[in-house]
């Protein structure tokens, strides 16, 4: 009688435990779900509120890197460049901390799921982190600090080539191109030429997979510098490859002022979860949850930089959306293999728990089902694409604006970049961040 009571009590306890555990874990949201409100605030053109919402929804210790990255991007949108750099530098240090292989996380990933791994940044995150820091330093007028960031990018690119040697994204052409522009800005054309060459090679290599061709502005930069350094053979090769007969004369170029407009458009793709559950012959329920990128509609199809006298088209220079999707595709086989290994471990855990008590087995099954979530963490506050417009103008004051156009070439938004006083042989970097049709640009400019 006593034994029967004890059994009934222990099964009841285990059942309650299972229900509570299930209820508790079903309340756990994925990172993507946690970020939905933050993203909505950004879409409304309010990065400050997005920051508050991000702070109100702190992730676990494993989400520290992705939280800092998103924080850094939001602070930049809010025009807080120094704070943005602090957050991004903290993210850089946090990545270094979680980069080594973790024994507990490896074990955890085989029992709990992919979210047991601390987020250590996707390969393109680690480059973009420094790129955005360089943007911040340029906005702060600290070109030498921006130079430090492009040297750090160079180091990171060297590691990328080793770590991602089989990936379509083993080079980052935009990072090389921007490095070259900053070197030119600092009066180091020899370094710029090296960076431009690498950028051109990387664009050629990736154009088929990523759909971004060598920007015409880069072609002209290469031809101009080849001329300036007397590299006739190289210039002839490029002239033939690019089919260009006309490029800026180096002497004339020095007499003009140069404007580089970089616009980040849209938001990086959202990671979602797709899961499949099956019941085996012993009544155990197993599920496999894998991440995928939700398709987003591309609102902006072209951008025009307009001055009082002329207008030029901005060219796409970096497709973060495409890079993220390709990297996830390349990772899919590993994710599936780990999910299958996890199924075996979870089956063993359920069986062991069942041997103790059938209700404990049920509790363990509910736990494994609820805990096994796909890793939907991503640096979602990045733009989907970067566009660049390069223009050389006579020294003096110039008032510029950006015109964002939709698929049928209709105007979506206009953003005034203000009137800028330009001096000869100087580079002026202007950044814009377009989020949605409703909001347009979220960039805060002084005096506007």
């Amino acid at each position: 009688m006593c034994r029967a009571l004890r059994r009934a009590r222990s099964s009841g306890l285990a059942f309650c435990l299972a229900v509570l555990l299930g209820a508790a874990l079903s309340g756990c949201t994925t990172y993507g779900e946690r970020m939905a409100a933050v993203e909505a605030a950004v879409q409304d053109g309010d990065p400050q509120r997005a920051l508050t919402l991000l702070d109100e929804r702190p992730g676990g210790s494993g989400d520290r890197v992705v939280d800092l990255l998103n924080r850094g991007a939001l602070l930049r949108m809010a025009g807080k460049f120094e704070a943005s750099n602090q957050a991004l530098e903290a993210a850089h240090n946090a990545i270094a901390e979680v980069d080594p292989l973790s024994v507990t996380e490896q074990i955890g990933s085989l029992t709990v799921g992919e979210t047991a791994f601390a987020y250590a940044g996707a390969p393109h995150d680690r480059i973009l982190l420094h790129l955005i820091k360089a943007f911040n330093y340029l906005d702060l007028g600290d070109s030498e600090a921006a130079r430090v960031e492009i040297l750090r990018i160079d180091l990171r690119l060297q590691r990328l080539a080793d770590e991602q040697s089989r990936s379509a994204y083993r080079r980052d052409p935009f990072a090389h191109y921007l490095s070259g522009l900053i070197f030119e800005h600092l009066g180091e054309p020899d370094q710029a030429l090296v960076a431009y060459r690498l950028a051109e090679q990387a664009y050629q290599e990736q154009s088929e997979r990523l759909g971004i061709v060598v920007p015409t502005a880069l072609q002209l930069d290469l031809l101009r510098l080849a001329d300036a350094f007397g590299l006739d053979e190289e210039r002839a090769q490029w002239q033939e490859r690019f089919a260009l007969d006309d490029w800026p004369d180096p002497a004339t170029h020095r007499q003009q002022a140069h404007v580089v407009v970089i616009s980040g458009v849209g938001l990086a793709p959202r990671r979602r979860e797709q899961s499949t559950a099956v019941q085996d012959d012993k009544g155990r329920i197993h599920s496999i949850a894998l991440p995928y990128y939700e398709p987003r509609q591309r609102a902006v199809h072209s951008i025009e930089l307009r001055g009082p006298e002329a207008a030029i088209s901005a060219e796409p220079v970096h497709d973060i959306d495409a890079v993220a999707r390709i990297l996830l595709d390349e990772q899919q086989a590993v994710l599936v293999a780990r999910a299958l290994a996890r199924l075996l471990v979870q089956k063993e855990l359920i069986d062991q728990a069942r041997e103790v008590n059938p209700a404990a087995g049920l509790a363990m099954n509910i736990f494994t089902l609820a805990a096994d979530r796909a890793d939907t963490r991503t640096w979602g506050m990045l733009p989907a694409r970067y566009y660049m417009a390069r223009v050389s103008l006579p020294p003096g004051e110039h008032c510029l604006e950006l015109v964002y156009r939709g698929p049928s070439n209709h105007t979506l938004n206009r953003t005034s970049l203000g009137c800028i006083e330009l001096a000869a042989d100087t580079y002026h970097f202007i950044f814009d961040r377009w989020v949605s049709k409703r909001t347009g640009s979220v960039t805060r400019r002084e005096g506007m």
Binding site: A96, E144, L155, E355
Partner: protein, 220 residues
Amino acid sequence: MSRSQSNNRRADLSSPPLTAAPRLWSQVAAIVLIAALLAACGHSVKRIDRDAEHDLSGRWNDLDSRLVAEEMVADALDRAWLRDFQRQHGERPTVIVGSVRNLSHEHINTRTFVNDIQRELINSGRVDFVADARQREQIREERRDQDLHASAESRKAMGEELGADFMLLGSINSIIDQEGRRQVRYYQVDMELISLADNRKVWIGNKEIRKLIRSASVRP
């Protein structure tokens, strides 16, 4: 289910499950123990000696800055330009520190390095030192204020500043070689002392630091 099977099952339940349960609970206990050990590695603060070598990350640090400044100033003060100047003018040269450009791969606070150099030069007692451009502006502002508000006896006149004879300029460069989790960081600090009278470079100093960094490949 037969009676004998039912009895066997009851016997299994009545006695503690000796095979499966200890396995499961020992795994749980091991995880709890690991977690407790990791949690024990808490935050602590300890004051350390200024000269103690603590190179945590392998990046440029306060000790690098101070040692380079000491060695470079010692080298600069031991060269012919100082003796030549004293022989020609019969007084100590006046030096000003210009900019030290950071051309390295990391954000280095060059102001602390410039301050280290200034301190070493002033404390040597062999050169006079004048304020840099930003400090001079502040001091001139104070003199303008004195012109209006200070008594005639205590007022300091404009146009009595001590002009520098030499300017110290420099740069910090780095080369980084990396392979897997190993990295060699090479820093080269170049300093030049330039005569303000005729742009002559009277001294060029150079100090190199090389560090081998091995990053952990595994963590708990």
